[in-house]
């Protein structure tokens, strides 16, 4: 009996104790993390961090190390918050050969460089869905140019640049037939091509033009980076789906043990293009430019591109075998090492540029891929990083001989030495890191102080917000031997790649306001004296001025239902940080934000008669609430004369 009860007790105890617990991931942050990221009030961040917005189509700007969001730059998506894509001046920026497109998927960014170092002039951004490249000016943080890329789909290996910003590239993630021929999908192998487009960038103005497109076999070009130093003339693209599958890629494109790094000698390509080896073909694409003088964007449809076929251009393209669907393709600061991150591989191959040149010279080939010579894996290989982790995606460098690779599956950043390819340190990320970024980490001169991991999954890191959670970024201090996590912060959209540069590079170049005397907008109102309303047929142009705290004119009559009313609002202020806004009741459009010295136009087509108040939307002074006016809209055919008030006061009326 006693024994029995003892046994029962035992059973109960085991049941109570049951299930050993899994150990939890330690998320301890060391004590001095807070002081490392604290930027005291009145102080500036050390770095500007430009972060792609992914599916929001924009670029976010953060300060590092604080992780504070400073600005969202509208690039590929309309932005009703400031009228981008809605104002008459910016509508043309989003024009394509398929009409105006209000959205895109913005993945990667690259800061312009001179001699392999950031020069703080421009930021390039890619659009993945409707292939385009944008150039953002870093004195105004405005999108200045958007160039559409024909013969392309899934513009993913973009907008990476050569080390003097001679070219910005666009490679296709999705192969498509060239032109617009109607072919069965199953004819992929014959009719589908990937293309690597090289877009020249004007040294002075930054103006972009498609110089040539290299036509490659059907496959998926994933990412790319330019060589530097000794490998200056080369561009390296990672590829997957060299199986040439066109259905169920998840399985069918993961069969081969090796895909390729596509090495393109762009200097040679340039020569071939000059020598007339290319073929000019018709291909319409939109080229949109914002003119800083007229403050207006125009869209031009260009019609021709130059195609280069590797068959006609020997010694221009080589294939380097790379284990299992490489994703990132990153070049170390010296330009000697090319790191291919095979996302399905259990190792990281590192190729040597000097070995590649030697292998090409010695014709160390192991066959060809659709006519393009394939180098022997061993003859191009410097070595492999063994057991780095799972799902390697991207690599950046710290300038001290170390590389940092993001591991998507094992959710960690792994630091390893370029010299002996040994893993030196690991830091967990929370969770599922995609891209990572070191300021200048893809240039000749990285600033190896911080590393930011951009994570795809946030789960339990912040206060929950329903089913959709913000993606997160994590800041690591990498100045020591061990990576130290110092900050977690939520981000905007879905960050993919990012760039960062020292604040001092661009901070003092900022335009604070636009000089009104240089405003060449066709509808500028130079001072209140020139504020007026002009009718031509059913088009009504309102030349309006804004200054603290009134709009001129602020009473408008003689406008009819169905008229096309254009409010051209000029902000007469000449001081920093005094924008004015403009909105009018029931306008099915957006508002405007007008910077000092700028003229911006809102189109309004009233559909019903009535009195429409309009007002300034940006709190500008103590009398901001008074900054408003009325538009009277009369029925069509009514006989109301055109009248507009220009700020008459009680006294002047009495004097009349």
């Amino acid at each position: 009996m006693k024994r029995l009860s003892l046994m029962l007790g035992l059973v109960a105890a085991t049941a109570a104790m049951q299930s050993c617990k899994m150990k939890t991931a330690a998320t301890a942050v060391q004590g001095d993390a807070a002081s490392k990221t604290y930027v005291a009030p009145g102080k500036y961040d050390e770095y500007y961090n430009f972060v792609s917005g992914g599916f929001n189509g924009q670029v976010s700007v953060y300060g590092l190390p604080s992780g504070r969001l400073l600005k969202v730059i509208p690039v590929f998506s309309v932005f009703p918050e400031n009228g981008y894509g809605y104002s008459e001046e910016t509508k043309a920026m989003l024009n394509t050969t398929n009409g105006s497109i209000p959205w895109d998927d913005q993945h990667h960014l690259d800061l312009s460089q001179t001699n392999g170092e950031q020069d703080g002039r421009w930021l390039f951004a890619n659009a993945n869905n409707t292939p385009r490249i944008a150039r953002i000016d870093l004195t105004t943080f405005k999108t200045m140019e958007i160039l559409q890329i024909p013969n392309s789909a899934g513009n993913h290996s973009s907008p990476f640049i050569t080390e003097n910003t001679e070219y910005v590239v666009a490679g296709t993630r999705f192969s498509v037939p060239l032109g617009s021929e109607d072919v069965p999908i199953s004819s992929f192998k014959e009719n589908f091509h990937s293309t690597a487009s090289f877009i020249s960038v004007d040294k002075n103005s930054g103006k972009m033009d498609i110089a040539f497109q290299i036509v490659l076999p059907g496959m998926n070009l994933d990412l790319s980076h330019a060589g530097k130093g000794p490998s200056h003339d080369w561009f390296f693209f990672s590829s997957y789906n060299t199986e040439q599958a066109y259905t169920l890629l998840e399985v069918n494109a993961s069969q081969k043990d090796k895909d390729y790094i596509v090495a393109v000698n762009w200097k040679k390509a340039e020569e071939y293009a000059k020598a007339g080896k290319g073929k000019k073909v018709s291909a319409p694409y939109a080229h949109n430019t914002y003119d800083e003088h007229t403050q207006t964007a125009t869209s031009v449809i260009e019609n021709e591109v130059l195609l280069l076929d590797p068959k006609d251009c020997p010694d221009m393209v080589y294939m380097i075998p790379c284990p299992k669907s490489p994703h990132g393709c990153d070049i170390d600061p010296s330009g000697e090492y090319i790191v291919g991150s095979g996302k399905l591989a259990a190792l990281i191959p590192v190729f040597s540029f000097s070995k590649i040149t030697k292998a090409i010279g010695d014709k160390q080939f192991e066959g060809d891929f659709k006519g393009i010579p394939i180098l022997k894996y061993e003859s191009a290989l410097y070595g492999e990083v063994q057991k780095p982790g799972l799902g390697p995606l991207h690599t950046e460098f710290d300038g001290r001989g170390n590389a940092y690779t993001s591991m998507f599956l094992s959710s960690e950043v792994v630091k390893w030495s370029l010299k002996d390819l040994k893993v030196l340190d690991r830091a967990p990320t929370y969770y599922s890191v995609g891209h990572l970024m070191i300021p200048g980490g893809d240039t000749k001169k990285p600033a190896g102080k911080y590393l930011v991991a951009y994570n795809k999954i946030t789960k339990d890191r912040f206060l929950p917000t329903g089913p959709e959670l913000a993606q997160s970024a994590q800041l690591y201090d990498i100045s020591g031997d061990k990576m130290q996590l110092v900050l977690d912060y939520p981000t905007f959209g879905e960050p993919h790649y990012a760039q960062a540069c020292a604040a001092s590079l661009i901070k003092d170049k900022q335009v604070k306001f636009f000089d009104i005397n240089k405003n060449k907008h066709s509808y500028v109102a130079m001072g209140e004296k020139n504020a007026k309303v002009v009718r031509q047929g059913n088009r009504v142009d309102v030349y309006m001025t804004a200054i603290r705290s009134h709009l001129t004119p602020d009473n408008i009559e003689g406008v009819y239902v169905g008229d096309e009313v254009y409010f051209h609002v000029t902000n007469l202020e000449q001081d920093w940080d005094i924008p004015h806004g403009f909105a009018i009741k029931n306008n099915p459009n957006a508002e405007l934000l007008i910077m000092p010295g700028e003229t911006v136009t809102l189109k309004f087509v009233p559909e019903k008669q009535g009195i429409y108040p309009f007002y300034c939307t940006d709190f500008c002074s103590a009398l901001h609430q008074e900054m408003s006016g009325y538009l009277r809209v009369s029925p069509k055919g009514a006989n109301v004369p055109l009248k507009f008030g220009t700020g008459e006061t009680a006294e002047t009326v009495a004097a009349k």
């Binding site: 009145g42 500036y44 961040d45 050390e46 005397n517 240089k518 000449q574 006294e651 002047t652």
Partner: protein
């Protein structure tokens, strides 16, 4: 863009010249060394103060007046007025957003006027006369970033408006 940069650089250069003997205001940021990862926002350069209280504060301690008026200056001042000032100031004595300009050259010293239109923020913060006007108008006059020449020409235009010959 280039021109703008030049323009800004010019302004910066002038500001630097003005910044000859900083004194008075303590810098806004704490002196304690914070994380080495940040830079201090530049403190406002406090400018030279002309000794005469009624001349306001700014770079203009002595303004040479012309006799008779320089008509080129008047014309140039008029166009500056129309673009940068007319939205708030009438030429009559009537107040709009700011006070009317009639008689301003009798009420204020030329140095005060030149200092106020070029060094607006510091004047509004410290000059008793400017502060009194702020309480009356309730809107801070914006700094319209006039160049020294523009300011001088504007003064000439004000004097013409007040009937000087």
């Amino acid at each position: 863009m280039k021109k703008q940069a030049m323009f800004l650089t010019a302004i910066a250069a002038v500001a630097l010249l003005v910044y000859s003997c900083g004194s008075g205001t303590p810098p806004p940021a704490a002196d304690a060394p914070a994380a080495d990862s940040s830079m201090t926002a530049p403190a406002q350069a406090s400018s030279q103060t002309p000794t005469d209280e009624t001349k306001g504060m700014g770079k203009f301690a002595e303004v040479k007046l012309t006799d008779p008026l320089d008509q080129t200056m008047v014309t140039s001042g008029k166009s500056t007025y129309e673009v940068k000032c007319a939205a708030c100031h009438k030429l009559s004595g009537e107040k709009l957003v700011g006070p009317g300009w009639k008689g301003v050259t009798e009420r204020r010293k030329p140095e005060w006027i030149m200092n106020f239109v070029t060094n607006t923020d510091e004047m509004i913060d410290k000059d008793p006369a400017a502060q009194a006007m702020l309480q009356e108008c309730m809107v801070r006059m914006p700094n319209q970033h006039l160049t020294d020449d523009e300011a001088r020409h504007l003064l000439e235009y004000m004097r013409a408006n007040d009937g000087k010959k």
